[in-house]
Symmetry: D2
Subunit: 377 residues, 4 copies
């Protein structure tokens, strides 16, 4: 693990997700730029001092040189700005990666990472965790099966209410970082939340966003950045849609939600109730599909640990990705080859597309909301 020292919120989620299905052990890492803090974190994780490194370069080189008990993959949970250089280093010496999202902050860098992954035949998981939910998998399968007919309209939202107050002035570290014009600037709400809605749209529909018109504004006055974005989307098959990303939608919880309308039916899912999916076929009443029900696809059943009426949540969805990666790593180590599963974990390509999407949206916004092409990869 690189990153994840004291105070690093998302790293703890990664570690919980690793433990859930008991497929991982953290055996080496750099947990902080501050060696002392790094050692503290390592001790808490029961990692021997000899495998706590001063920086990611040292770690990559030492670990790649090991004969036995070598790491199978590195987990990158640093701030986004450093993902590129760290990932490049590990990819360069052939180590699989599990990387927090978004991938990085520049399309050129994203593409370089993808090229390294492809060249090395490596496993790269980008933890767009929401695509790990059983019912999201089922939704994606239903679209692939044609249950909705041809997809025509996609309404996606990741409109959270978490930053409706000026938390950045109250010593809230995440808020400070996410509203800092010098870090992500106005693009913050798109990188942080918009990429989830974007990836979810792509994952569920199997379509790509080809053009975007973006409008941004500010909900919380005196904030240093725009905290709200309303986008229109054009998809690769001609479908249309809208995407709303916000960090200050008053009273919303996490606010991730997707509705897909085809000419034969529609689907709706939202993260506040992740174990249900509303399916409206054209020729019958709306149906409530519940995680664990016997009539779900294998895609959903595979990621149902308990059963009907036993809610699995955020950690379980995250763990689903980790366990899929573990399977992939094992498959690759056994057979020297590895084929990515259909509807499996998000990867470096999702990362490239996410960065491309944000860059295009920011260009559109800079151009007064004009329709702007999203570069196809």
């Amino acid at each position: 693990m690189v990153g994840g020292g004291p105070g690093a919120g998302i790293a703890e989620t990664h570690r919980t997700a690793m433990r859930l299905d008991d497929r991982y052990a953290i055996i080496a890492g750099v947990f902080s730029r501050d060696p002392e803090k790094s050692l503290i974190a390592a001790k808490k994780l029961r990692i021997p001092e000899e495998r706590v490194y001063s920086d990611y370069v040292a770690m990559a080189e030492a670990e790649s040189g090991r004969k036995d008990n070598r790491i199978d993959a590195v987990v990158i949970v640093t701030q986004t700005a450093s993902h590129y250089e760290i990932a490049r280093k590990f990819l360069g010496i052939g180590i699989n990666i599990i990387c927090d999202k978004p991938l990085c902050l520049k399309l050129a860098e994203a593409k370089e990472l993808k090229s390294l992954v492809d060249k090395g035949g490596l496993i790269f998981c980008l933890t767009h965790n929401y695509s790990g939910y059983a019912m999201v998998r089922h939704a994606a399968r239903m679209v692939r099966n044609g249950d909705l007919g041809k997809v025509k309209v996609v309404q996606a939202e990741h409109a959270s209410g978490w930053a409706i107050k000026l938390l950045e002035r109250e010593g809230h570290p995440q808020a400070a970082w996410r509203t800092d014009p010098g870090v992500l600037g106005d693009a913050s709400v798109l990188y942080d939340l918009g990429t989830h809605a974007h990836q979810l749209s792509r994952f569920v529909t199997g379509l790509e966003v080809t053009e975007v018109a973006a409008e941004m504004n500010q909900i919380v006055e005196n904030r240093a950045i725009k905290d709200n974005a309303n986008l229109l989307l054009r998809f690769s098959n001609g479908a249309r849609g809208s995407l709303w990303a916000s960090m200050a939608a008053a009273g919303n919880e996490h606010g991730l939600r997707i509705r897909v309308y085809g000419d034969r039916g529609s689907l709706a899912w939202h993260h506040e109730d992740p174990h249900h999916l509303l399916y409206c076929p054209v020729d019958g009443p709306p149906q409530i599909l519940a995680q664990g029900a016997e009539w779900l696809s294998p895609d959903a059943q595979r990621w149902t640990r308990v059963g009907l009426g036993h809610p699995e949540g955020f950690f379980e969805a995250f763990a689903n990705l980790y366990t899929e990666v573990a399977d992939a790593i094992l498959a690759k180590s056994e057979s020297k080859t590895w084929v990515k599963a259909d509807l499996g974990f998000p990867d470096v390509t999702d990362g490239v597309r996410g960065v491309s999407f944000v860059e295009s949206a920011m260009r559109s916004y800079a151009a007064g909301g004009a329709w702007t092409q999203v570069e196809s990869i």
Copy 2:
């Protein structure tokens, strides 16, 4: 009443709404261009033959000449294309009007009607019935009271699923008319449904839409027109929003829904559950406001006939407008003057703005979705 002969769906709603609070009697009319059909309708309504007219011109002239038992207002429920000429005639001779929406099909005509209304000091109600719901009134009052702080984002939808099949090929009269390129063309979905979402947004927020970017597409292939529209909006106070109008959102019921986000709270209402309003203040838990609850505003209480837990629906909301107009007519006839109530029934100005909105959206669409100004009235 002008219009509303055999087969005219919305006219029956108007008549039911009139009866509900027992404030109206239909005493004269032209119910069809076909005199025979007109008489049949009149007989069913127990209207004496002498007050059934051959056309609206004859009616306007005869009725305006009556000494006693003169009509207090005319209800126009013909197809939209004829609203302008009929309304102009009755306004010209000083008769109050209750007119089905949309007002008409050209902005210039709409403005002329408004000018006649203003000049004559007449009462003109445009039956944007959804603003008649008690909880919509309450929402509008809460925004006026500042309960949401400054409005920042508006998400409006009127995405119905009624035309997800090619009903126009199955002899469905309403579908035939509404998908006829020669009647409303691609603007149909905006005139029919979009204007409701637009008016509701304005009514609840008290803001005007100043710019629009419009995107249209087709959900049902082989339909003669576009049946879906995704719009971005800019509001008069700088707020942003989106509006989705559709006649073919598979599985949706009526699909009218509005969410308003301010910097101090948010509100959500949808027509499938009209007697509740979700209110999320910034400083406390989300609240479910229910029609009939003791803590609602007089605006909501006034239009609650029974009480908490006794659903009132579409007819009651429609009747609310009719009863407000009856009050206005009485007030005017008694005092020769009349002041429109705050948060009262929609009027000719709402009609002008609706036509202006659709025209602007269609210009935007013709210009590839470019941001387009909505003329301020």
Copy 3:
């Protein structure tokens, strides 16, 4: 109409329901025991003085003696205690009746009324209005069709929150009457609300309640009566269930709700969302059935005035009963005979069973909650 003078709440609902479908005119009545108040009410309803009577006896005799423009039915909306004598008088001279519920307060009297109805071949509607909802009709039809298999469990509630405060001490007239130990006493909550849940259970399932075990307690301290009742039920086919009636369930709206479980599926309906029905078949996902959907039974479609997504509420359900009675009166007057429609309006038998149910429950409660037979009629 007998009853319904100034301040009489439910009478206004009856009159609104009559107007809704334009099938009734009120042409005679006694609106109050106080002749002056009666005349005031009559004037407001535009009823000529000559047909406003001093009491129901005078009315019954005068109206039955009329040659033309005779009343077709009398609507009884007095307090429950007087239903029996008034109904007996009108039935005795062959006049159809629409009577507010509950029927009366003694089983012997209820049976006598039923016997008069049967002997005279008269139409008697008891306005258990909730069985007028389109989706309740559909639920009843589904059970009759066997969609649930054999009914096994019924969970019914009419647990309202209206009297969670000591309103009877604040000059609230309805509360005063309903919590008066001298009027209905502890049975009040069962007569007022319990009979609705009981009738709804019977209407939807087609079963009779044969035994009851009743427990009562008091939610609002210092109230003169028990305001809460929890019952267990045994049904005629061996099904079991529970029924909860309350006037002081804090925070509940009207609180009428029914769930029916069979061995092939289940149904759930609640009055706060009357246009939907949740249907769970054993062999597929739960379905949301919506009023106006094309796949509903004729029973539901008949009582859908507008269509999908256009909520109809309390008045419309009430009006459905009135319109059914109008059809029945016409059919009877034309053919001298009349057959009650399947799944049609509730009648005197429902009234007898309701009184029998309450009496049995009160006996059970008096016996410390022992299982008590409900007399079969």
Copy 4:
């Protein structure tokens, strides 16, 4: 761990719950009566052979004799029938216990276990996992805080639909066991599900059930036992309520739900949406309390790992209990004393009360549903 070999469903949940917060290691056990199977399970869990025992007696004796790396607690996940003897053995030699529910099958045995726990000052957690949910904790705190006033009515349900088919004839092992008249008989539905609803009622309200009237029936015909139970309850403060336990409520998911009504407000929680709580105060609108919201009690915040809108589910609730037990074990080992936290994990007393409750309900049922006292402990 005792139990939890191949095919043992609930043991896997226990193990996942242990891993989630990384506070446990399984270091010894008897995983099956079949030594071979036991070794297979042990190997999978990476437990050295030397600490895999032939039976629980051997384990208890060997482990209690160890000088170092001794187990801190034993987890009992065998079938209910053997809980008593196993627990007695471990308690007898002073080992803390985490035991799956229900505690055992006889009240006398349950009391003996409690007496051993009390005498030894041992930690005994009975995994009534639903009381581990953050929002259930918050509900319990609100009642303690008086937010509902005096509790008057409790409506509890654990009506699952899992066994609506004759799964026991299709080789479904859990169904076979749970519908075997020789194992739990008609009491199965009460032991398996009823005790959860009972414990939840007690946990949330702080009241005890003092009397019960029980009615049972059979939903799935040809099943060897009754699969449905409807109960009325009397609580220690005079409150009344009902409890519905079912394994065959068609279409229900897990079906655990509780509603508590006091004279100042009400609360509702259901397991299908565990991160929300509906709170209806008497003096304001209903509120939706969401896990992670800033205004929740420390009891809820303590068990919120991520935050608002990030669902935590079944495993997390289970893990909460485990982590509380870990804290208790540490506290006890450090200070030689230990005080059970307020609103903490369920313990042996809950177990005794659960067994007493089921025994009383079965006696009531045998007596035709007569009110029956629940022995106070």
